[in-house]
């Protein structure tokens, strides 16, 4: 039973990271129907910036954490304005190709600037754990879960209760109507990319202490995030977070209790889940079924 609860908390903490990156994907997908394949590399790149700000990772600094969020926000918005916006008139597939180009460039740049060597990234939370009824609950897991959920909550409050948030939702729902109502949709898309980049930065900084900092560190996480987003329904922000938590718990439970599933098999299992969802319930757990009009 102790193992069960420990696995559960680790799963929730992993899941929060997958969920936040999945949420970043869903934010951009909802607004532009573009899957941002560079989302993981953007997160990786900003994590490197945080690492540089923290004096090459000697100690964790909260000011650097928040500074990185700001930089990520500006960087994401700038990328949208410079790289994605000129392709607004092109097809969705071209925009997807552009995000793939960004993925390649950011990955290469990180290796170029900071070398592809594995780096240590400090954690803001102590490595000790609380013992509640014989169950060891790692402070790092609880802290990661808390930080990610706080960010998600802030984002939700923004979208739900501010005028700008309302404008962004309107722009995503019906860009033409929103534009007619005086909403400057292009800038809102930049804002959306900014938020997505900041969310990605959170997931990057939270996952880096456990997976270590390398240019490829987010590739697997991005796939978990894809699986989470599809599990929750690609159009549902709530579903992305729920899908992430479910996937995190599921993968950890499988690793703990199903012997043949070793760490190497986590990715194939995630791919299997992704395919199974597509086959059985393509709209995901919380998505709507889309009816196509001719």
């Amino acid at each position: 039973m102790q193992t069960f609860f420990q696995t559960l908390t680790t799963g929730l903490s992993d899941g929060a990271i997958y969920g936040s990156l999945a949420l970043a994907l869903v934010l951009i997908y909802k607004a532009t129907e573009v899957i941002n394949f560079a989302q993981g590399e953007m997160a990786m790149f900003t994590t490197y910036i945080a690492w540089a700000l923290m004096g090459h990772g000697s100690t964790f600094e909260w000011w650097a954490f928040f500074a990185t969020l700001g930089i990520a926000f500006l960087g994401g918005a700038a990328l949208q304005q410079t790289v994605i916006r000129p392709l607004e008139r092109a097809s969705v597939l071209t925009a997807v190709m552009a995000t793939i180009a960004l993925l390649v460039i950011l990955n290469g740049l990180a290796a170029w600037i900071w070398s592809p060597q594995l780096q240590f990234f400090p954690s803001p939370f102590p490595t000790s754990s609380w013992v509640i009824g014989g169950v060891h609950i790692s402070k790092q897991d609880v802290g990661t879960f808390g930080v990610v959920m706080a960010c998600v909550l802030v984002l939700w409050l923004f979208f739900r209760f501010t005028k700008l948030g309302l404008a962004m939702r309107a722009g995503a729902l019906n860009p033409n109507a929103a534009r007619l109502m005086g909403v400057r949709t292009s800038w809102l898309l930049a804002l959306g990319w900014g938020f997505a980049a900041a969310l990605g930065a959170v997931s990057g900084m939270m996952v880096a202490p456990t997976v270590f900092l390398t240019p490829n560190m987010m590739q697997a996480i991005l796939i978990y995030a894809f699986a989470a987003a599809i599990l929750g329904g690609l159009e549902s922000p709530f579903g992305a977070v729920a899908g992430g938590l479910t996937l995190g718990v599921l993968l950890n439970m499988l690793g703990q209790y199903v012997h043949p599933v070793t760490s190497e098999l986590q990715l194939p299992v995630a791919l299997g889940i992704l395919l199974a969802v597509l086959l059985i319930k393509p709209a995901g757990l919380f998505g709507r079924v889309v009816v196509r009009r001719v």
Binding site: R89, S91, L93, A101, L103, V104, L234, R292
Partner: protein, 351 residues
């Protein structure tokens, strides 16, 4: 062309093919041994790109995982040769079939839906493939990988391994090219293009979109499996790092550069894929480093170059590259310079 039967036309333009054959025969006499070996790789990349073009250029589906199908081909060849003593040449079609069958099986769930789902699902294949290789080391050699015996010429022909490799690759490529024309020119080819241009219209006309996409996925996986078998034979060594996700992305870049939907364009794409990493990329960077003092041989620099090249191509041709769907019908000039200015945003229309 008068005199040419429908069958001949379905296999592509015989004049263009003849020119290519002459060029292929002449190349080893013109270039050095090492250059010839590299050109052998161009031949195998041509095979891989032809396959991916059938899926992306003609059926309009993006795959980010076809490097892994090359990996499946290379591993099948290696395991058959090393553990079962099969002659390497015989493994080439077998590896293609292995990759093709796995591709079909994967395509059944993944291609049932329109939109970005296929690209999403295929993105996971290279990483999942590496995980599987490491999980079953007694079969695949695990992290260490497996070595193939050194390449040597057969049929009593005494020539260097490089030339022999070149010959094998290009014989295969020159078989696979007309075969690709055969695939895209017939009834099935029309079905593929209709899926690319409008899934709704295709469905309304009785085309099974899921079936067409799945079959196209299987065929493209077959091509990549064949290319992978050649790759394994050429480098005589496979391990999990031989087929990174970068390779899959590079193949896609090759398609865009070559001109998706044009089969002969893939020659250009294959040259790019082979030479961007070893010579073109570094020389571009050397030009750059004369202006800014940067270390151009640092890791990662090559990736930056081909990422930027891809972006430039996408911008130079917004309506052309549009699409991987619509830039299609052929000529490369169309990608470089669109005939019309891009139309109004089509966002509201494709709801």
């Amino acid at each position: 062309m008068p005199g040419a039967g429908p069958m001949t036309r379905r296999l592509g333009n015989p004049v263009a093919f003849g020119v290519l054959v002459v060029a292929v025969i002449a190349a080893p006499f013109v270039f050095s041994n090492y250059r010839t070996y590299q050109l052998g790789f161009v031949g195998l990349y041509l095979v891989a790109l032809l396959g991916l073009d059938i899926l992306t250029g003609f059926t309009g589906q993006i795959s980010l995982g076809h490097g892994a199908f090359m990996g499946i081909g290379a591993y099948t060849t290696t395991i058959l040769v090393v553990d079962h003593g099969v002659r390497d040449l015989w493994t080439i079609p077998l590896s293609g079939l292995a990759a093709g069958v796995i591709g079909l099986a994967f395509g059944i769930p993944a291609t049932r839906f329109a939109g970005p789902y296929l690209a999403l699902a295929t993105f996971a294949i290279p990483l999942a493939f590496i995980g599987l290789l490491k999980r079953f080391p007694h079969f695949t050699g695990g992290n260490v990988g497996k070595s193939l015996p050194q390449l040597h010429a057969e049929f009593g022909w005494h020539t260097s391994p490089s030339i022999w490799f070149y010959v094998v690759c290009w014989v295969v490529a020159l078989v696979m090219l007309p075969l690709a024309f055969f695939v895209v020119r017939g009834r099935f080819g029309r079905a593929m293009r209709s899926v690319r241009d409008s899934e709704i219209a295709a469905t309304a006309n009785g085309v099974s979109t899921a079936g067409v996409k799945t079959l196209a996925f299987g065929i493209s996986a077959f091509y990549c499996g064949v290319a992978g078998a050649l790759y394994g034979i050429g480098i005589t060594y496979v391990n999990p790092d031989t087929f990174p996700i970068d390779l899959s992305i590079l193949l896609l870049v090759g398609i865009v550069l070559g001109g998706a939907g044009s089969l002969y364009g893939m020659l250009f794409g294959a040259l790019f894929v082979e030479f961007i990493r070893i010579s073109w990329g570094p020389s571009l960077l050397d030009l750059f480093s004369k202006v800014h003092h940067v270390d151009t041989h640092a890791p990662g620099s090559g990736l930056v170059v081909y990422g930027v090249v891809l972006l430039v191509v996408l911008y130079a041709a917004p309506s052309g590259a549009a699409g991987l769907g619509r830039f299609s019908f052929g000529s490369r000039t169309r990608i470089i310079r669109p005939r019309r200015p891009p139309g109004p945003p089509a966002k509201g229309e494709n709801a």
